[in-house]
Symmetry: C2
């Protein structure tokens, strides 16, 4: 039997959830918070000191198996000893108290910190630029794509014209050109202004926010189970690729880059085939647009490979790959040296990332490699998926369109309505599980990379127990 | 004599700079970095382990008096023991290894962490929202302003219309309305897309980046010395206020908020009077626009008050005040409860800030209060300014338009050209000082809050020594 990584990391991990069913302390702390901070999204106030491995504790003493993991962003379980060691290192203390303007005055350990991150870069990528969040990573990638797109037209080392230098100060072309990022309906890429303009999953993310008038293509909507709808789904790929091609050819604003998630995550765990992504790569090459793969949610192992798009064997590799969440640090990978802008201070800001968070990312990568956690996640995912398939047979109304087969623990399914889904998510706490949703009507599993068969058993039993009362 | 805070914090702080004049190791590390990361802005590779108090060391053994302080962002000196203590705390370890989705699952210490930040909030502000950088803080504030502006028209609790819910998914009005932030020529507010659209100081910040077509007003351009040009400068205030009033009345896109720095920092340390800012407050009230004060660079003590706009006695206080840099954490303060959006998940993202950085901010605030560092900075600034005035008499060509009198150590001056300024900044390293510029032709002093008379003496002597060779 494979050694249990969770037992190695977490000798005191709970054996099962504890549900005390009181939420008084959590409610009181949330109410207090509401006087000074937006508390409207708070589910509960956590006790991170008592959280351990795959279990999150709240301040009332409830201990939940956590398959949501801070919106898909805890990689190695709560209070992982390897990360605690990194957090206590001298390198970390310096990064915290002497926060550098990394672009101007990087520290002596910068090559080590960046090198550790690059050790787990996607295949074909060997350079990185650092940011602070998924939205930030995407917007930095947009900037890099716009710089590169214009440099291709202008010549990499060609100086700016006087007209560009003057017009840009008025936010006018040619210095501030009208260029677009093409993204997909149901995609999610963040909530700042440019990233928000590419996001297209729910109105609440965007209402009242001015936006760039950038186009949206359609992402394939497959019929499930996939093996029974091969021809139809292939036609769906072709239909969607044609839309992309048409938009790039005809859009009034030139499309500098196509932005896509390997699996649309927030938008409902919508999968598409390798052929679809290869088609996207070909279309971008044909038109001279860049290809940006947003791996903010899919990256770092959860899908059973380190980076989800590596399954697609894209040639050449994507121009930019953004990351955040499970890497606990943010930024983009790239390979073309000319993605680094021709002059200093173009891709720049005061901090250019956060070495403290980059150190954590390096430690995460190292642990993943050391314990082969991507392979383990693939195995555990297969184990879990098979059990969920059986549950789907037992409760077809509550586990529709099960998806994520052979995609590690990156699994989702759909309920018959948003109300049914919300009730399910909330009720799962009564059987000891913290679980999240995606789209309006779906459930998404986003456990850590140290989620094992024994945790899968507890999850499946809890779902069974709950649904047997429905 | 006042106790020396720097001696208390840094018993081993160097007594003077060390210039070894070799840069070989720094160059080698920078070259290595360039293979995987944009290294074009790197001045030198720092040795933060050996940096101490007001002195920054590089990997070659040079030790500079640092009056640039990571682009105005190191608050309490390198390796400050109080921050090291915060960095080693259990609370910090948890924040680093169990990074929460703060909007959904805040930790048990959230009220303490937020409370510590609010202890040093600007007068009249009692709530906060957290982000990750200055640009992020400003864009989050823009979103809050747009939400509030629309809520005033719609009614705070009025649900969205079906038309809004549908049109927003196409990035179209009314769901995604055309609304503007009015900012000022020579202002700097960050380099993401919306913040970049409000930034108007240098072309390099903006070239090739698509932008929102938001208007710019003119910021007063005073004649110096101020006491000799009172009438002219008053007229300049009036002229600029009229432009603001005209734009808000006539701009095709409604102006939801006016965004302004208390001192335009990156853009040249351009000061304006309390009357000018009071005029802005009045104009925004008259037209129902919000007032956002960008304290990213001016905040946290350097100007001799905790927040630079507190000198203006604005009534009512600004609607939003953004911060970052010296606070080491980012976000905005506010007071109107309806700045918190009517529904959950409007002002939201995965992490909603970073508790690790918020803990540092709280510790910074506490130390500032405990050691009265704002008052000390005001005193040291006056001492330094008087000495610089004498230098300006001695070298009028190299210290033109000296500004920042009675503004703590937030001091700047102008040289006769960009080339002369750049040569001065570079040459200052040969006399042991790390110093930065602003605008094309100016020098800005941005030392820490533990910069004292003895450091001011070394700085002034170094400038004198250098300029005597010109």
């Amino acid at each position: 039997m494979t050694q249990s990584i969770s037992s190695l990391y977490f000798p005191n991990e709970p054996k099962q959830p504890t549900v005390v069913s009181s939420h008084a302390k959590s409610q009181a702390a949330t109410d207090a918070l509401g006087k000074v901070f937006d508390n409207r999204g708070v589910y509960f106030v956590a006790d991170y000191d008592k959280s351990n491995g795959n279990y999150i504790a709240d301040v009332d003493g409830n201990v939940y198996l956590d398959v949501y993991a801070q919106i898909a962003s805890i990689p190695l379980g709560y209070n992982n000893p390897a990360l605690i060691e990194a957090a206590k290192s001298d390198k970390m203390i310096r990064a915290l108290v002497d926060r550098p303007a990394t672009g101007n005055f990087p520290g002596a350990d910068i090559n080590e910190i960046v090198g550790d991150i690059l050790k787990v870069a996607p295949k074909g990528q060997d350079k990185v630029w650092s940011g602070l969040s998924g939205a930030d990573a995407n917007e930095l990638a947009f900037k890099a794509a716009f710089f590169r797109y214009q440099a291709k037209k202008r010549g990499y080392l060609t100086p700016f014209t006087q007209e560009e230098l003057t017009s840009v100060m008025k936010n006018e072309a040619p210095g501030s050109p009208d260029l677009a990022i093409l993204s997909f309906e149901r995609g999610f890429h963040g909530r700042l202004f440019a990233s928000g303009s590419t996001t297209c999953s729910k109105p609440i993310h965007k209402l009242d926010v001015p936006s760039f008038k950038w186009p949206k293509a359609q992402f394939p909507a497959y019929k499930y189970p996939l093996e029974k709808h091969i021809e139809e789904n292939k036609k769906e790929d072709e239909r969607c690729l044609k839309i992309v091609d048409d938009i790039i050819q005809n859009n009034q604003i030139p499309v500098a880059a196509v932005l896509v998630e390997p699996i649309q995550s927030e938008g409902g765990d919508n999968h598409a085939s390798a052929e679809f992504f290869q088609g996207l790569r070909d279309i971008t090459l044909k038109h001279g647009s860049l290809l940006i793969i947003d791996e903010v949610q899919t990256g770092v192992g959860a899908t059973g490979v380190m980076w989800a798009h590596e399954r697609f064997n894209l040639q050449p590799p994507p121009d930019l790959v953004t990351f955040s969440k499970k890497f606990q640090s943010a930024g983009y990978f790239f390979h073309d040296p000319e993605i680094i802008p021709n002059f200093a201070y173009r891709q720049f800001n005061t901090w250019c990332g956060d070495p403290a968070r980059m150190i954590i990312a390096g430690a995460i990568g190292q642990e993943i490699v050391k314990h082969d956690l991507v392979k383990r996640t693939a195995e555990v995912g297969n184990y879990l998926y098979a059990k969920l398939e059986k549950l789907a047979e037992k409760y077809p109304k509550y586990l529709q369109d099960l998806r994520g087969k052979d995609r590690g623990t990156f699994i989702a399914w759909t309920l018959e309505s948003g109300e049914a889904r919300n009730k399910f998510l909330s009720d799962m706490k009564t059987v000891g599980v913290n679980i999240g949703g995606c789209a309006e009507d779906s459930v998404r599993l986003r456990p850590t990379l140290v989620f094992e068969e024994k945790h899968a058993d507890i999850l499946v039993e809890a779902i069974d127990k709950l649904l047997s009362t429905y």
